[in-house]
């Protein structure tokens, strides 16, 4: 099937009006915290944009991110954006396989050198020279370095690509690291989440296509517009937190009343994401709405943050060293007491009885 060259044409083919597209752009602009007027510019630019080449490399991942994007319940427009891009390599989605796929990848990289957008999902294994994760006999580490060279920008999709994610969890047997730990000379947008919210990636792509810019990022490389506030800040159960009303177990009266899940280990206060506003499953709900605390999946090292069901204020690891320290302290103490007693004893045996004349110096 022949593809249309611009989105405008594609829309016309699908019988979609310009106003529909403007509305969609207005919602994207709102999500990306762009000024509302940007919607019109976006609509115009997107309408005329040529299909940029996108190369999507999967590393140590579970395909959850791909699932999240492709199973998004959003209307056809988001799918269309994907149609719009020239997804030249995506192992899971592409029809080609084996040598054919590799050839497609290298052809795309060569043809669009310096212009393509590189999407990575999954963390990069660095242990044993990256041998833990290979595609076509080449380590992810090698592939990443090669693909990054010609990329205009890199999108690290999901917590694994953004921060190392679950492969990096203690004890990290594969030496997993984030994309940003390897690539230092390219703009990288981190879209963490396990999985990330689908609309965020379309928003970032739309902005890149429209303005040729990447969204404003926070210090962890995440779009500020989406990751600017915590789940806790936007949580509908927040008033209960402020009133000190907490569910103590998952089946108590508090839980039934929909009270705050802080004491049940909710990581909402330390998790920066938009789940509480964009929600999941076609805007049905988000974890807290279903009665389970946030597990902080979009934060670095969330897997090792002290247990999903332990309140943030609780010690993560109840006093591992206490017994050892007590024994060591007692040992030090006993050693000093022997030394002290010896010293005191020596002073005593060296005692010279004071006589009257000794009172004078």
């Amino acid at each position: 099937m022949e593809r249309s060259d611009t989105l405008q044409e594609k829309m016309e083919q699908n019988g979609m009006s310009r106003r529909t597209f403007i509305k969609y752009c207005a919602s994207l602009a709102s999500l990306m915290a762009l000024p509302p007027s940007a919607a019109y510019a976006m609509a115009e630019a997107l309408g005329k944009a040529k299909r940029p080449s996108v190369i999507w490399l999967p590393f140590q991942e579970c395909t959850g991110c791909t699932e999240s994007i492709t199973r998004s319940h959003s209307p056809s427009i988001e799918g269309m954006i994907f149609d719009m891009i020239s997804l030249d390599y995506q192992e899971t989605l592409m029809a080609a396989a084996g040598h054919q796929a590799e050839e497609a990848l290298h052809a795309a990289m060569k043809e669009n050198y310096g212009k393509y957008v590189l999407i990575i999902d999954g963390s990069v294994a660095t242990g044993l020279d990256g041998a833990y994760s290979c595609i076509a006999g080449r380590s992810n580490l090698e592939s990443l370095k090669e693909a990054a060279k010609g990329a205009a920008a890199i999108i690290a999709l999901g917590s694994c690509a953004s921060f190392g994610g679950i492969p990096k969890a203690n004890p990290n047997p594969t030496g997993a690291v984030a994309v940003s730990d390897i690539i230092k000379d390219k703009p990288i947008v981190n879209i963490p989440g396990c999985p990330p919210i689908p609309v965020v990636i379309t928003g970032v792509l739309a902005q890149f296509l429209t303005f040729g810019t990447l969204p404003e990022l926070d210090k962890l490389g995440r779009p500020k517009a989406v990751y600017g506030e915590t789940i806790h800040d936007r949580c509908y159960r927040r008033p209960f937190y402020d009133q000190g009303k907490f569910a103590k177990t998952f089946d108590d009266e508090g839980a039934r009343q929909g009270w705050c899940l802080f004491e049940l280990g909710c990581k909402g206060p330390v998790t920066y994401n938009a789940c509480a506003t964009t929600k999941w499953n076609d805007s049905t709900s988000f974890p807290i709405e279903s009665g389970h605390g946030c597990i902080g999946c979009s934060e670095p090292d969330f897997w090792d943050a002290g247990g999903f069901y332990k309140a943030l204020s609780m010690p993560a690891d109840p006093l591992k060293m206490a017994a050892t320290a007590a024994v060591a302290g007692a040992a030090v103490g006993v050693a000093i007491s022997f030394a002290n007693r010896a010293k005191k004893g020596a002073a005593k045996s060296a005692h010279e009885t004071t006589k009257l004349e000794d009172l004078e110096k």
């Binding site: 602009a29 709102s30 509302p36 209307p75």
Partner: protein
Amino acid sequence: MPSIDQIPISIVSPDEMLTGQADAVLTEIAGMLKRLLDDGIEGSIDLRGLALSGADRVWLEKQLGRGEVEIMLEAGGWSVLTETAYPGVWKVMHRDDRDRVVAELIEVAFVPAIIRPDNGDVKKGHESLLLNLKAKTAGV
């Protein structure tokens, strides 16, 4: 002494508090109106990007009031564009085809931009009308 259940209890939820944000919105709208008059520059405010409480929204709604025009727009879901009591100030609510609110704006313009048909669209409409006419003539 009254028993404990006779003591009246009132629960104040955050939605019942004015944050003062709505005041600022009004001031900004006034500024935008002046720019529209002086320089013809249109403006808009993304209401969902502001931390407005329920009470703020109700208050704002009341302050803005209603004008004479209400436009329904069906494009991938219904949108409602309502003129407020202040001509040139529009309240815009976009919904998608599943009736979810996707954008909620205040637009300051003589006519919201989305209403004005695009030149290209008009041109295409004109062409298809001519074609239509030709077909009718030919068909007779």
